[in-house]
Amino acid sequence: MKAQKNLQDNLTFIFLFILAALILAPMLIVLMNSFKGRFFIADTPFALPNSQTFIGMKNYFSGLAKTGFIQAFWYSLFITVFSVTTIVFFTSMTAWCITRVKSKVSSFLYYLLVFSMIVPFQMVMFTMSKMANIMRLDNPIGIIVIYLGYGAGLSVFIFSGFIKSIPLEIEEAATIDGCTPIQTFFLIVFPILKPIGITVAILNTMWIWNDYLLPYLVIGSNYKTIPIAVQYLQGGYGSRDMGAMMAMLVLAIIPIVLFYFTLQKYIIEGVVAGAVKG
């Protein structure tokens, strides 16, 4: 019985190990091809680089020059960091207020925000980019407002679910002690929201960092984020530089992998919590 369990566990381990290798393989193949000459990639992507095909870091240099990747990295970082901070800050305030103040306005706002979650982006893509244009929000600072508005639904929904579980007595005690609502929120409630705040931050980071169509339509003609820079390499079909493409894919993956390995525990927990509540 014991021996049989051991054998089963070993077989499972081997199976999972092969599967893990298969899952990592596509990324490793891209990495390998990023060191090959551009004409040796599309036809033989599974061949290791050899003395004839190996060209060192040349693809990286040509890719960086063609896409402005370094600039795109800074735009992506700027937009993601400030949008996520803004979203966590303002939507937690809104969620607390409309959860605690029971009124018709509150529940109207709540359902309106939740409703926005089910609307596909294509429904508003044209009109939203026009609005951004008219309101002069079509720049890396203005797009933060767009992200706050478009991301508000999910974030308010997740915060509200958590706030309902916080006992009201804590806040009532603060009010009796003379706190204004602003003091109550920032001194008492906001610190309690920390775990769910991390969840909201992670979900929004994953969304905004990888988002393509919204930034492409709103700021894409003047400012390229990483996904826009990668897509830009596509160009006309057939004419694209496969070498530069491989190198840029590698550069696009590296920040995500670093982010993942540093915050892995929070990311997986956050995503599960977000899914279960959302």
Partner: protein, 281 residues
Amino acid sequence: MQKMPKKYYAFFTLPTILAFVISFLIPFLLGIYLSFTKFTTVTNSQWVGVSNYIHAFTDDRNFMNATIFTVKFALVSVVLINVFAFSLALLLTRKIRGTNIFRTVFFMPNLIGGIVLGYIWQLIINGVLIKFGVDITFSADYGFWGLIVLMNWQMAGYMMVIYIAGIQGISPELIEAAKIDGANSWQILRRITIPLVSPAITICTFLTVTNSFKLFDQNLALTAGAPARASSMLALDIFTTFYGSMGYEGVGQAKAVMFFLFVGLIVLLQLRFSRTREIEI
């Protein structure tokens, strides 16, 4: 706190609500209005009634094709992703060594953005297909199965962690009791594990259905709809209608409204389904 002075209420809600009105509410209402007009910019719209909706079906077969493609894709990917993810979750809750590392690796593709994923898989799939003298743009079937493989690679790990959380929530005493009563592992799976993780099944089905329906980035990067527009899903078809040729903005917007109604309907069905299930349990 039942009441709050108006100025505080405004302080807490106005920043979010203003941004929401600018980037969602006005665009949404304007979008519904524009779907009944002919326009190239917002200011030159002319009322044309429902003709955009009729055009969406009669001009060409793109919209119907995209709808069929999307529904087929959603059905196949929901089943495959969930079966795959659930099996992985079962294997990873058997307390064997390396569980944490495997979980980390399986979840990782979920963090990579759709555009990057699309090009990674384009390289791999074309690398295989070239041995047969074709590439992914040769037939919409290749695009279809390519997207299925891609989505499994991306989402199975995500669904897996939700299933793991569900399976770990089952109290070990139940399994223990079933074993003592002589249940075999298939019976335990069928009669205990699956019923008890049904909330997780509901969540995962919902997530995979909505993600499959709204798929855009992966579709754009992997095939861009090729050949012609045969492998376009709904989101990409709407995008192409809008920005692909002048004069079809109204039709694009009408398609977008129908897409929204479609997604809305699925969400409502899903909510109703999960409510009735909760009552049963």
